[in-house]
């Protein structure tokens, strides 16, 4: 790892990280502020009972007790919207590093210095990881901070247990996005390929509720290991799921190293 390149990559993306962080905080505030009203609507549980059970899986909610703060935040935020926002951040980051630097020609400047390709990939991957950790921590601190300010009863251990889960999910996505960044010439294709695979994993998870084949295949997708409602409810870090997500990340990262070490670098 090259510390200077790591710092430069983080610095290049700090504006983007700040914008995404700010956007997440705004969304968190909106969601949290909505919760007391939602909780107090009479008959909301009966209404939700009428929704197909599997439909709620689309929003990451397995339980029908959506009036709990944890389930509400999952359904409104962490189950889908938050994933979309942070995935956009990860894809933008992955687009701008290897493939973006080759496309812009700056990789030639970088590789004309005494720095190995291994070091370039590692430094830039760690910069993505730093961005991911920042956004996940900002999200959770926002939820518990705004929640506490609004007098909502919060199961802190549950939300803090979500931090490693959120980080590992995004690292898994970053792993294959980085691989696409080392494989493809056009940065736009990096985004399309990464977004396509993420969507495919998500649809596989959703389809698993209705289709047995998809349910069996779901273990090969990342969203099988992402169940925010259960983590927040129980306050337990699901070690098995974390390891599975980290395995996705490790495979993507290792493959990126192998590919980039052999790749021609020319704009």
């Amino acid at each position: 790892m090259n510390l200077n390149l790591f710092k430069k990559t983080v610095s290049d993306r700090w504006r983007s990280t700040a914008v995404f962080g700010g956007g997440i905080l705004a969304y968190v505030l909106m969601t949290t502020a909505l919760y007391p009203t939602f909780r107090d609507i009479s008959g909301i549980e009966e209404l939700l009972d009428k929704y197909p059970k599997d439909f709620l899986r689309l929003f990451g909610v397995e339980s029908f007790d959506i009036t709990s703060f944890g389930n509400f935040v999952t359904a409104e935020l962490l189950g889908l919207m938050w994933v979309i926002i942070v995935v956009a951040f990860v894809l933008g980051f992955a687009r701008s590093v290897i493939a973006g630097e080759i496309h812009d020609g700056t990789m030639e400047l970088l590789l004309s210095q005494p720095i190995s390709r291994w070091s370039v990939v590692t430094s830039q991957a760690l910069a993505i990881a730093a961005g991911i950790v920042t956004l996940v921590v900002v999200t959770v601190l926002g939820i518990v901070g705004f929640g506490a300010a609004l007098g909502i009863e919060i199961f802190y251990r549950g939300f803090f247990a979500f931090i490693p889960v959120g980080i590992c999910l995004l690292l898994a996505i970053a792993g294959y996005s980085l691989l696409f960044s080392t494989l493809l010439k056009d940065p736009r294709r990096v985004v399309m390929a990464s977004a396509g695979l993420t969507l495919a994993f998500y649809m596989l998870h959703f389809a698993g509720a209705y289709w047995r084949v998809a349910d069996r295949m779901d273990v090969f997708g990342i969203f099988h290991y992402y169940n925010p409602a259960s983590v927040i409810d129980s306050g337990t870090v699901p070690v098995g799921s974390l390891l599975a997500l980290l395995a996705f990340a490790a495979v993507g990262f290792t493959a990126s190293l192998v590919v980039f070490r052999r790749r021609d670098v020319a704009p």
């Binding site: 090259n2 200077n4 430069k8 290049d12 812009d104 020609g105 700056t106 030639e108 400047l109 590789l111 004309s112 210095q113 005494p114 720095i115 190995s116 390709r117 052999r262 021609d264 670098v265 020319a266 704009p267």
Partner: protein
Amino acid sequence: MPETVIHTEGLTKYYGKVVGVQDLDLEVFQGELFGFLGPNGAGKTTTIRLIMGMLKPNRGSASVKGLDAWQKSVDVKRLVGYLPGEPALYPRMTGEELVRFVDSFDGGREASGRALAARLELDLDRKVEGYSRGMKQKLAIVLALMKDPPLLIMDEPTNGLDPITQHVLYEILNERREGGTTVLFSSHNLPEVERLADRVGIIRAGTLVGTERIEDLRGKHLRNVEVIYAADPPDGIDRVEGVSGFERAGNRIQLKFRGDLNSLLGVLTGRELLDLSIGHASLEDAFLEFYGREGGETR
């Protein structure tokens, strides 16, 4: 025998089915300024990128001071200052920040970078996105030269530079050569190569057609000659060895000449002259002449 700094052997690179360079054997020696000459798309940049370890050869190898350019890429980069053909620099950084960033890989050369920038009259306080084409080229030159490497590899170094800055760069390169630095630079500008290089390699369609000492090339390349006489021109000008394209219109003659100028001038000055001009033929003419007559012999 001077030490070999750059050595390529059977160096071959394909882009799909298109030949980038093929079976390129090249040696550049310690302390020489080697000009790599060829038209656009001939394979100059591909060769340079192979030597820099940016591209992986399909066949053959390139080495710098005995270090394989692909396998020992990091070690090679410690020895080389590199100026790409179309330098791409981080647009949001200032020149100063870029100098510091590049310096962070080797260390201790910031002052040298600032001194070079001052010599090239480059303002390092501005952001790169606000630089003109020429200023970006100057900054890229500073980044390549600042660590005072034993080997400089420069792809079209005077691209986008004004004549004054070109002159400053020529001075710097000559100083570096005198200090023992080896320089490989590519160009399609024949007078520039003539002015700077000790030896020149000519590449066409991915193949090294030949390498020549610059004095030998000078003797070979084509010149346009135009003479106006006070009266009739002397006889036998068109029979001088090396004369081609001879045309006469009254007292005025035009011809192309390739060879030792003294032999031609001996004949031309046999009568009273009103005017004489001798200029370099266009690069294209020189190439066509060179390739046409000797392309198959020089390898």
